[in-house]
């Protein structure tokens, strides 16, 4: 068991609480940097997706896990980022500018979505975001002059400061850099007043308001930041798949993003990464498992069932997600033999008035 005796405020504020954390994260950093040299091309390609979905997942996590809002339409921001990147690249804009524009435009769209969200909660907000997703998808399909409609848009490899990032390794490092920067930005946010304001809004809106937090302003900010991050993920996604079309940004993708957040563990940044890794590796896992099943079983059906079972299973048995399971394991060893099952028990609210916030 580790005791941390704090004598300075900085110890509370800084990102790595103690030497041990610094060591493990440092090790992780080294592994991630060395990955392209060690793993196969296929695994590297999957890592691309994991990093991209992690960035998008971080965006959604900020909104859902930390500000307590709901979004069933985040694929719309993915689309905004992707299409902005595609269009600006086709117009010859440098990558830095097009990426920044993808983020800013997604943020603007996020603000538009955030406006009705100010007055809506719970299921109403979920349906509003769902409706929004459908409408954006339809706009993309119909606005053929700009988006190419159902024919989609092609993308060329990224050109950054004159270098062509056409290799798997270079794209990997770009994604890794952006993922790390996103994590750092969010961690900084969460240890400063704005991050605390978000958490306050999640836990008790009335209280937050009475403490001086302008709900409208901060909710909108949260939507904008969340959308911007997901937009960046979308821009990277566009380059990864090199061909984008409206069918890639439907409700299904929105649900996938939410699943990443839930499986990873709501309310933790690690969760976004763990969840992304899990969701990307799931189809592989199913294919492997399918080898043991009779041929008559169709892949698509099995994937759907497994996805559903995992979602249901996690919510019932592991509501804190993968990161929560990791925390429980670590706490078990930390306080051995004093671990109590009830430590992480989830609060249930049986009173309807308790469920209102």
């Amino acid at each position: 068991m580790r005791f941390i005796f704090k004598t300075e405020y900085d110890q509370d504020i800084r990102l790595f609480q103690h030497g041990g954390q610094l060591f493990w994260y440092g090790l992780l950093g080294v592994l991630l940097l060395a990955a392209p040299l060690v793993v196969s091309g296929y695994v590297l390609s999957q890592l691309h997706f994991i990093l991209i979905y992690a960035i998008a997942g971080l965006g959604l996590m900020l909104l859902v896990g930390y500000t307590g809002q709901i979004s069933l339409g985040h694929a719309a921001f993915l689309a905004t980022g992707a299409y902005t990147e595609a269009l600006l690249q086709a117009a010859g804009t440098p990558f830095i500018v097009s990426l920044a524009s993808a983020a800013l435009l997604s943020a603007a769209v996020g603000i538009i979505v955030g406006l009705p969200a100010l007055r809506l909660k719970g299921i109403y907000l979920a349906i509003a975001t769902l409706a929004f997703n459908v409408i954006v998808e339809e706009i993309i399909t119909r606005w053929e002059s700009v988006t190419g409609g159902s024919s989609g848009k092609l993308l060329k490899p990224i050109e950054l400061f004159g270098y062509r990032l056409s290799s798997q390794e270079s794209f990997y490092y770009l994604c890794l850099a952006l993922a790390v920067l996103s994590c750092l930005a969010l961690m900084n946010l969460l240890r400063s007043p704005t991050g605390r304001a978000f958490v306050a809004i999640r836990d008790s809106e009335i209280s937050a308001s009475c403490l001086g937090i302008d709900l409208a302003r901060f909710k909108t900010m949260s939507f904008a930041l969340s959308a911007a991050l997901t937009g960046i993920g979308g821009a990277l996604y566009a380059h990864k798949v090199t061909f984008i079309s409206p069918e890639q940004f439907t409700l299904i993708q929105s649900i996938e993003l939410v699943t990443i957040v839930i499986i990873g563990g709501i309310g933790s940044l690690h969760g976004a990464v763990l969840g992304a890794a899990f969701i990307i590796m799931l189809p592989q896992g199913i294919s492997i498992a399918k080898g043991w099943l009779p041929d008559a079983v169709p892949q698509a059906g099995l994937q759907s069932v497994v996805f559903g079972l995992i979602l249901v299973g996690f919510i019932i048995f592991e509501p804190y997600g993968l990161y929560g399971r990791w925390l429980k394991i670590r706490t078990y060893f930390d306080v051995f033999p004093f671990y109590r099952r009830g430590t992480f028990r989830r609060q249930r609210s049986y009173l309807r008035s308790e469920r209102l916030r």
Binding site: P116, A296, Q303, S353
Partner: protein
């Protein structure tokens, strides 16, 4: 001109009835357990498949297939509640929504994997065939009339049930305060299970009524998404609201499909729901709840 409008109107109402039935299922579950069942459309789909099997494999006549589907789906609904929903009693709404989304995935996947069903599209034979009626110059299929008629009958039955049956009152109690309902001797868990069974039965009827129009296939349930705008417009938590909302959405779709350019028909319900959420989130008949400090 008038006959054109009348035709559109009747078509919209008929389609709206199907949405109303799905929305009814939502609202029943929502009123009782405050859970929002995103799998309602998929339950409808499953009901249609059971109806199909009853018709083709068991060779039952039309009305018997409806009864068969109702019975089977009631059991399925109760099973879903028992296995999946009961463990998460008292969890936040978002969590329950995600669980029902998961259930939807499972239902779709299972249907695809069943040998006789799979990913094909099937037609459900009805005794009405292609019979049509002409009213004031408008042409309406007998199937559509049957849809409207059956929906109306079902609504009446439900109204009487909630007004005069103990279960209806018990349902309202559990939706307000589950613990207190327990203390009053209401078997809360059994009530919830029965409500899910009821909602599934209503979905089954909706599925069979929808089958002639949309055909029976595994992704049929996505039409259920449009029932959300219906429930919101009518007022979430209000049974007459669900019906009113469903009819409104059906009409909006019918008229949008005719008067507006292509593609608007599909988004029209969602635009309507966004507008409603902006102006009056509680819908036509709904109620707002606010925390008291």
């Amino acid at each position: 001109m008038f006959s054109q409008l009348l035709q559109l109107f009747l078509g919209g109402v008929a389609q709206g009835c199907v949405y109303a039935l799905i929305a009814l299922g939502f609202v029943l579950i929502y009123k009782a357990t405050e859970a929002v069942n995103f799998a309602q459309g998929d339950m409808m789909m499953l009901g249609a498949f059971f109806g199909l099997t009853a018709s083709t494999v068991l060779g039952l006549p039309y009305w018997a297939t409806i009864a068969f589907a109702i019975i089977v789906m009631t059991a399925v609904g109760m099973l879903i509640e028992r296995v999946v929903i009961r463990p998460v009693l008292g969890y936040p709404t978002f969590t329950v929504v995600m669980i029902t989304i998961g259930v939807g995935y499972i239902l779709r996947g299972v249907v695809t994997m069943v040998p006789g069903w799979g990913t094909d599209t099937y037609t459900l034979r009805t005794p009405f065939g292609d019979a049509v009626l002409r009213i004031g110059g408008a042409v309406i299929a007998a199937e559509q009339l049957a849809t409207i008629g059956l929906t109306a009958a079902l609504c009446l039955a439900l109204y009487l049930f909630f007004r005069f049956a103990k279960l209806g009152v018990a349902m309202q109690a559990t939706s307000q305060n589950q613990l207190a309902a327990y203390y009053m001797g209401i078997p809360v868990r059994r009530v919830n299970m029965l409500i899910w069974g009821l909602a599934a039965a209503v979905a089954a009827v909706g599925g069979i009524l929808l089958a002639p129009v949309a055909f029976v296939h595994a992704n049929m349930g996505f039409i259920g998404l449009k029932a959300f705008p219906a429930a919101v417009v009518g007022g979430f938590g209000s049974v007459p609201g669900a019906v009113a909302g469903g009819l409104i959405i059906g009409l909006v779709e019918a008229f949008a499909g005719f008067y507006l350019p292509e593609g608007f028909k599909d988004v029209a319900p969602y635009v309507v729901v966004l507008v409603v959420l902006l102006i009056r989130p509680s819908g036509i008949f709904g109620e707002t709840a606010r925390k008291k400090v």
